[in-house]
Amino acid sequence: MSVKTYREAINEAMRQEMAADENVFLIGEDLSGGFGCENPGSMGGSFGVTTGLYDEFGAERVVETPISESAIMGAAAGAALMGKRPIAELMFGDFIGVCMDQVINQMAKFRYMFGGKSTCPVVIRLAAGGISGSGAGPQHSQSLYQIMTSFPGLKVVVPSNAYEAKGLMISAIRDDDPVLFFEIKALYEESCEVPDELYEIPFGEAAMPREGNDVTVVAFGQMVGRAIEAVDQLAAEGISCDVIDPRTTSPMDNEVILESVESTGRLIVVDESPPRCGLTADVAALAAEHAFYSLKAPIKQVCAPHTPTPFATELEMAHIPSVEKIADAIRDVMS
């Protein structure tokens, strides 16, 4: 056990799994840098997550590619059908638009449409979400896990801290289905205690970082930390909340959410994506159907406005739900 950043935790999970299983390999752009020029391996990925893996495993296991995301995703799918366990990096998750077909129409559907006779164990890594003050702009800030959650056949992982990131990455690599692993860019530098050894966090099991009686707060990714902060503030006002971090959005731990809502009677759902057809609506609808008779107050969705992520700092900050907004929503359903 030692303190590791979110970035280091993902790196360690990949390194340990690559060492344990020679079928695991990485494929993507600039995973190590320096190919076709000086010092291969000198960069370690656009976000530093793949640092050192080229040095340890070489070019056969860290496969550098041209800027051709459809070919990358297709190649991962094909290698997986043949028994490999590729980890394909998309860099910014926003780029999925150029290779969506390989994910939604190919890998997602293979197992089902091929009669359950084949598996496609691909992990796709996507850096996601806004960072307040980063100025990454409209095409480099989206957190598209809600989109991918819509597609049957995909599993979708959204770790909210370094401990989760490692355990979920290990589960993702060992999983026989295509897994979209969303890395929250704003969390790369965040750290916590992370076991040194290999461990799995099973899919479909939520975490509950805070327990309380009055309100259930379900939050995703970057919003988990903010929800915890809001809830901790509200303790002073005598409001106590469950905070639920689903960790995987597909499959999702409906039971824990429903149990909590049944006990608190109030639900807030928080995500940094815009509101339409999103996870906040998804969880709200779940409760409105299956925990209806326990509900004491309207279900509140706290999310981004229905706009692209703007560049200007003031707007970017306003786009991502703040601790205050979450706290206000909780107060609202308590009044």
Partner: protein, 332 residues
């Protein structure tokens, strides 16, 4: 090129191999013609992209493939799958959506697959296959198993960005991927010369950094010879290669296509002069490699196989709707 005994010898095509090739082509033909009949007589619903006329493409390539090799196919996929050894009875069950079908009836005509046999699937997305084939080839390269991985694409599909990306990636990674382009003159209802801006598709493909050859796809021996060369090139670790095969389709783009966009008499001409099975049979006559009796016997066996397959498919077990959720990891 006229086929001679000497040529057969040079190509290593002994009697067993010739029988295998002819059986493959004949099975494809009868499978497709029967589908057409069953659609016309109303016993089979849906739309089907038939491969009749292009049989030598699939057979000429797949006859070279071994256990570790793979293919990936297109929307017009029945022929490739049969040539690669898919179970024909199970394929027919699949056409009828039986739960005993090759894909348990969930995929149907455009998704016939048998990954364990190296058939990575027909594919309903134009250009969907080649990137996946590059990944299969990458795994072959990693395994150092001397395998070759073939993607089939149509002349229309080669302008899809995914296909270009796949070709470049294959060259960059130097993987054993063979890109077979089947030129049947049309993509849907549009002529190839309109869709592909350049005058020379072979040269454009070669410009990606791999050798590409083009031959007459109605001639099994031409295809077999050149495919053999290109596959050998890939197998020996030299990187990817391309192969363009020209052969017209005897049917419309799909069953029911009225084909007003085709010149009058084109299909008649193709059926008369460019029928891969007729040409093969004629070559057998000329070279005495297989007798008329040999061929007739295969014909009979294939007809019986198809008849049985159709009967079994029509009588095949059906799905219990409540089991729709199976084989997706999670159900709601």
């Amino acid at each position: 090129m006229a086929t001679s005994k000497a040529r057969l010898k040079k190509l290593g095509l002994d009697k067993a191999k010739l029988i295998s090739a002819y059986r493959s082509m004949k099975t494809i033909r009868e499978f497709e013609e029967r589908i057409n009949t069953e659609v016309n007589n109303g016993r089979l619903a849906g739309f089907y992209h038939l491969y009749s006329g292009q049989e030598a493409n699939a057979a000429g390539v797949c006859e070279h493939l071994g256990e570790k090799d793979s293919i990936i196919s297109t929307h017009r996929g029945h022929g490739h799958c049969i040539a690669r050894g898919a179970n024909v009875a199970e394929m027919m069950l699949e056409m009828w959506g039986s739960s005993d079908g090759l894909c348990k009836g969930r995929g149907g005509t455009m998704h016939v697959a048998d990954v364990n046999k190296g058939i990575l699937g027909a594919n309903g997305i134009v250009g969907g296959g080649p990137p996946i084939s590059v990944g299969a080839a990458l795994s072959g390269k990693m395994n150092k198993d001397n395998s070759v991985h073939v993607s089939f694409s149509g002349d229309g599909s080669v302008n899809q960005g995914t296909v270009f990306e796949a070709m470049n990636l294959a060259v960059v990674l130097q993987v054993p991927a063979l890109f077979v382009v089947e030129d049947n003159f049309y993509g849907e209802f549009t002529g190839r010369d309109y869709q592909t801006g350049c005058d020379d598709l072979r040269a454009r493909t070669e410009a990606f950094g791999m050798p590409v050859k083009k031959v007459d796809g109605s001639d099994f021996f031409e295809v077999y010879e050149t495919a053999g060369e290109m596959i050998e090139y890939c197998r020996s670790g030299k990187g990817p290669a391309g192969l363009i095969l020209e052969a017209g389709r005897f049917h419309g783009h799909f069953t029911g296509d009225p084909e007003p966009y085709r010149p009058k008499g084109e299909v008649k001409y193709l059926r008369k002069e460019k029928d891969p099975l007729k040409k093969f049979a004629a070559d057998m006559g000329k070279t005495d490699a297989l007798s008329a009796k040999d061929l007739a016997q295969i014909d009979d066996e294939v007809m019986a196989l198809i008849d049985e397959a159709v009967d079994a498919a029509i009588a095949g077990p059906r799905w219990e709707p409540s089991r729709i959720n199976e084989d997706v990891y999670v159900s709601y």
